[in-house]
């Protein structure tokens, strides 16, 4: 056992300063994005609506814009309910 302990101790461990840096970089990357992100969503929704309204007749409450932030990538989800008397509501999904 002693011999294994010896090898374990010899394994270099990341210094606490290095861990501090890594943690800061991760948390701050998220915070910087969220600081600016919520602002553009309402505008995006309005502009999307304007574009679609040029081609189809739709109600404002039938558009839903959602932003999900994951570790690897983020998803912008846009749900648009198109009016159609015969067919079931159609859902468009755009992933970025």
């Amino acid at each position: 056992m002693r011999i294994f302990d010896f090898f374990r101790a010899a394994k270099p461990q990341a210094s606490s300063a290095a861990q501090a840096k890594e943690r800061l970089q991760i948390v701050m990357a998220h915070e910087r994005v969220s600081r600016t992100a919520p602002d553009f969503l309402p505008v995006l929704q309005k502009e999307l609506l304007a574009v679609i309204a040029k081609y189809v007749d739709l109600a404002t409450n039938k558009v839903e814009v959602k932003l999900d932030r994951g570790n690897e990538c983020s998803t912008l989800e846009v749900n648009i309910e198109l009016p159609s008397p015969k067919i079931e509501p159609m859902r468009a999904r755009i992933a970025v």
């Binding site: 501090a20 948390v27 600081r35």
Partner: protein, 271 residues
């Protein structure tokens, strides 16, 4: 027209007031007419650090409310020419700082002074916002420690979005990083974030590194800005930072551990 500089950090206890006093004194020593204003309404402390606590009659809030004239509230430093202190109120709260009131006082001061230093309170509330709102340049005081670095980043976000320059779409507030309480020996042992790490994370130009020094507490004990202690490493580091602010090219000192000789170690000489 004088320049308005805010000394800010988000986090408390990192050295804003010490640095405000040190910078104001340094500018005045260089011959610039300087005033330093305490924005920490209710928790007045700049007067103690500057050693003029017994000479406070009127304060910043009295002027905003029109209860006194500027000349009645400004305290002239007894050690350094060209140096003035504008203390804050101890009894009112930060709501006493109105945007119009602060603007009026700062505009009047910048007519007469070369540098107007705003010593910001900690936090991101009204007092801190008012201290940074009218700034031309900002000195971000940061300790090499996770919470301080994160809070500095929040303040940088505020400067970029909520300052007057940002609101009027003018040239952005010029940012400077002042890294304080730096311990090169602990950095070398991997126990403390190093300058490069902090710079990489915050991504603003480095104005200076102030080493951890016993001289800082000693100076505040006697109400003397640490710039006047030119034998101390902290005092010298502040003088270097001030020279850099004024455009001089000076190499960064005190970022590597000091190699102490046998006699120094024997005498336990520090800072």
């Amino acid at each position: 027209m004088g320049k308005i500089i805010v000394m800010t950090s988000g986090k408390g206890g990192v050295g804003k007031t010490t640095s405000s006093a040190a910078f104001a004194t340094g500018f005045a020593l260089r011959g610039y007419k300087t005033v330093v204003i305490d924005f920490d309404v209710g928790l007045r402390n700049l007067d103690l650090v500057m050693g003029c606590e017994r000479r406070v009659v009127f304060d910043f809030i009295n002027i905003i409310n029109g209860e006194a004239r500027l000349n009645q509230a400004l305290i002239k430093d007894k050690r350094v020419d060209n140096l003035y202190i504008l203390p804050t109120s101890q009894t009112r709260d930060k709501d006493a700082l109105t945007k119009e009131g602060v603007e009026k006082v700062l505009e009047e001061l910048r007519q007469e002074f070369d540098y107007v230093i705003c010593d910001s309170p900690a936090g991101i509330e009204r007092g801190a916002l008012m201290a940074l709102y009218f700034a031309d340049e900002a000195i971000i005081v940061t300790n090499p420690e996770v919470s301080s670095v994160r809070d500095s980043d929040r303040i940088l976000g505020m400067l970029a979005a909520r300052s007057r320059r940002a609101e009027l779409n003018e040239e952005p507030v010029k940012e400077h990083l002042l890294l304080t309480r730096y311990d090169p020996a602990r950095v070398e042992r991997g126990e403390m974030l190093n300058v490069t790490d902090v710079l990489e994370i915050l991504a603003i130009p480095l104005l200076g590194v102030i080493p951890e020094s016993q001289a800082v507490l000693r100076a505040s004990n006697i109400g003397m800005p640490v710039t006047l202690d030119d034998k101390s490493t902290a005092g010298q580091a502040y003088r270097d930072a001030i020279a850099r602010f004024l455009g001089e090219q000076i190499e960064h000192r005190f970022v590597k551990p000091e190699r102490r000789g046998f006699f120094n170690r024997l005498l336990r000489r520090t800072a």
